[in-house]
Amino acid sequence: MDELKICYLYPDVLNLFSDSGNVTCMLKRLEWRGMKADVTEVPVGAKLNVNDYDLFFIGGGQDFENGVQISDFFGEKSKEIKKAVEDEKVFLAVCTGYQLLGNYYKATDGTQYDLSGAVNFHTIGTKDRFIGNYCFESEELSGLKIVGFENHAGKTYLSDGVKPLGKVLTGNGNNGEDMTEGARYKNVFASYAHGALLPKNPVLADKILATALERKYNKKFDLSPLDDTFELNANKYMVDRLLG
């Protein structure tokens, strides 16, 4: 039976916005196709061996808890993650998890936190927050409209070699300035979108799963279609509401 090993990083602290729905979603979509996933939670303080996993998930958290988590992230874990990204392991990173993959985060008080540098971008903290439902369009997925809920004070700026996950149609995305949302680099899928993101964007969910399966088994995977009525209705409802 085809199987993915999923690493859920920091479920103990990066759990504010219910992004774990993404893990639930990936598990079910494999299960419905007769495949399997094995999820290992790697909390603060636990050792991470990236070779053990095919797919990594990191979600969003809040400031107090980031204090616990960021110190754990510096050093060993950070290096391991950079190695895994270069090794073309698949990542889904949302919000804070997304920011951790960048070069650094500059806080509003001027302090610069150097991060993993796994993906070439950086984030600048601001006093304002981008909050609300939003919609962006993926060129890679043939103009697929992706919906979610953004809630972030950091503005992210992509640098050389990194593409956005999509182009903002309504809302703010990475920084509210350049119409980009999220990041794509090797097999990294990063976004600010909560919601949870994958359950109402099943095409993106399947793209991530197929990428992980293809990398692992080194062959092409055409995932069998599922009855996605509820998923697509949830997507369509928000697309219609935002774009009219």
Binding site: V68, G195, D227, N233, A234
Partner: protein, 458 residues
């Protein structure tokens, strides 16, 4: 007494009167006008009224109703802010309606439910004699941003209230941290034993010590992050309780029976509301009532005769069956409802969830993915169908699908009238779980159709 305040009170009363004549349910608008005319008018009116403020994430409304029942038993004259008018404007309106035009209040006591974010503002004008903080959980994150800001708001409110006796939930490590270093009299209350045999698994809102960020040890948990916690590193721990439950004796769909200790003697109390979270609500009311030196037997009578609040486990008799409405508004509260239902439902029934995403509901519905709907499947054949309504019905239906429910056991009915029609037709008992704005509008529909009293006439 400024003329401006008098004008504000008069304007408030007139607007309220007009709204009532026009049969509209707006509860905040008259207060808005009063605050606009004279921002400090609340301070004028609150002088001389013994005010009890109830704040915290979950259980404010029910706790307030329980305190009121205690005051009824004690024969004290009071007023309260009903139907969720718990911001500065709604509270100002409530005081104005209970004062003469010179701001002199007609009642001795006020029981005020206060939104966590509004507390710091309200406390500038109201010198509360009693404060209850029910608990702190992750609420609508898009409004409060994060727990820290909710907490600093409540802390500021407490600092504005040096004369208050404060009832604090000892089992909530976030709540107890709010009164660190204050000189107020504190009454800690808590549950000295586990409540449920079987807990839904859920994300903890406070896994790490608030002082030193070390993971807490728990002797037991009652639900969420509530329980007997202690930090192995810095020694921060659950404080000793003064009002507490020693044993949960029994629980069913209508009530929970506990052994309660308010003073020397332990008393048996049948709380006239089901669910573990209502054990906490009863405890917080008992703690405040103790602070007010109310007679212990009267407190027990009040809590056992208490009838439930607006949309919080409210019962309707519709077509010869029982329809219960239980508000859901955040993962902690929702998980409590799921704990209660899956531990208590023993017969076939119909569930209905109605999810909106207006400001009062929280515009981000991501939290549905943190609520453990998976647990519902343990009800098996007793839960053959769930109806799903509201603006975000598709998202809710999708959530239930990923929680393991088969598609033929989920029905999306977006139109409220059609949904009510289907509920009317059902033979089995019904549990409706709406978000806040859905609760208001659906309750209104039920009231109209079955001729129940409208909430602004309460």
């Amino acid at each position: 007494m400024k003329l401006r305040a008098v004008i504000a009170i008069i304007a408030c009363k007139i607007t309220k009167f007009l709204i009532r004549v026009m049969k509209k349910g707006g509860t905040n608008f008259p207060g808005k006008i009063a605050v606009k005319i004279c921002p400090s008018v609340l301070g004028v009116m609150a002088r001389g009224v013994t005010t009890i403020i109830v704040t915290g994430t979950n259980g404010k409304t029910t706790t307030s109703r329980m305190i009121e029942q205690c005051l009824v038993e004690a024969g004290v004259s009071f007023f309260c802010n009903k139907s969720g008018a718990n911001l500065l404007t709604g509270i100002t309106n409530e005081f104005a309606q209970n004062s003469n035009i010179f701001g002199k209040c007609k009642k001795k006591y006020a029981v005020i439910e206060c939104d966590e974010a509004a507390f710091r503002h309200v406390s500038k004008y109201v010198d509360a004699k009693y404060i209850v903080v029910t608990n702190i959980f992750r609420d609508q994150v898009d409004r409060f941003v994060e727990l820290e800001s909710t907490m600093s708001g409540i802390r500021a409110g407490i600092e504005n209230s040096p004369n208050a006796c404060i009832a604090i939930n000892a089992d909530c490590s976030l709540t107890t941290s709010l009164v660190k270093g204050v000189n107020n009299k504190i009454i800690y209350y808590g549950v000295d034993c586990p409540i449920y045999k079987d807990l839904v698994s859920e994300v903890s809102d406070a896994q790490y010590c608030i002082n030193c960020k070390t993971e807490y040890n728990y002797e037991y948990k009652t639900y969420g992050h509530l329980g007997k916690y202690s930090c192995p590193e810095c020694g921060y721990r659950r404080p000793d309780t003064e009002v507490f439950v020693t044993e949960v004796v029994s629980s069913d769909l209508d009530s929970t029976t506990v052994k309660l200790k308010i003073s020397e003697n332990e008393k048996l109390l049948r709380i006239n509301l089901p669910g573990g979270y209502n054990v906490y609500n009863a405890l917080s009311a008992a703690a405040v009532a103790k602070g007010m030196n109310l007679d212990e037997d009267k407190i027990i009578t009040a809590l056992s005769s208490f009838e439930c609040g607006f949309g919080r486990m409210e019962n309707f008799d519709i077509g010869g069956k029982n329809v219960r409405m239980i508000l859901i508004k955040n993962p902690a509260g929702c998980n409590q409802v799921l704990n209660f239902l899956t531990n208590t439902v023993k017969e076939k029934c119909l569930f209905v969830t109605i999810v909106n995403d207006r400001i009062s509901d929280g515009t981000d519905i991501s939290w549905l993915w943190d609520a453990n709907f998976e647990k519902l499947e343990s009800l098996g054949d007793n839960l053959p169908m769930i109806y799903v309504g509201g603006a975000r019905a598709d998202d809710m239906a999708n959530r239930l699908k990923y929680a393991g429910r088969s598609l033929d056991k989920i029905r999306v009915i977006k139109d409220d009238d059609e949904l009510l029609e289907e509920i009317d037709k059902a033979k089995e008992d019904v549990f409706i779980m709406p978000t806040y704005s859905a609760m208001l509008s659906f309750r209104e529909k039920i009231s109209k159709r079955y001729n129940l009293k409208s909430y602004w006439e309460n």
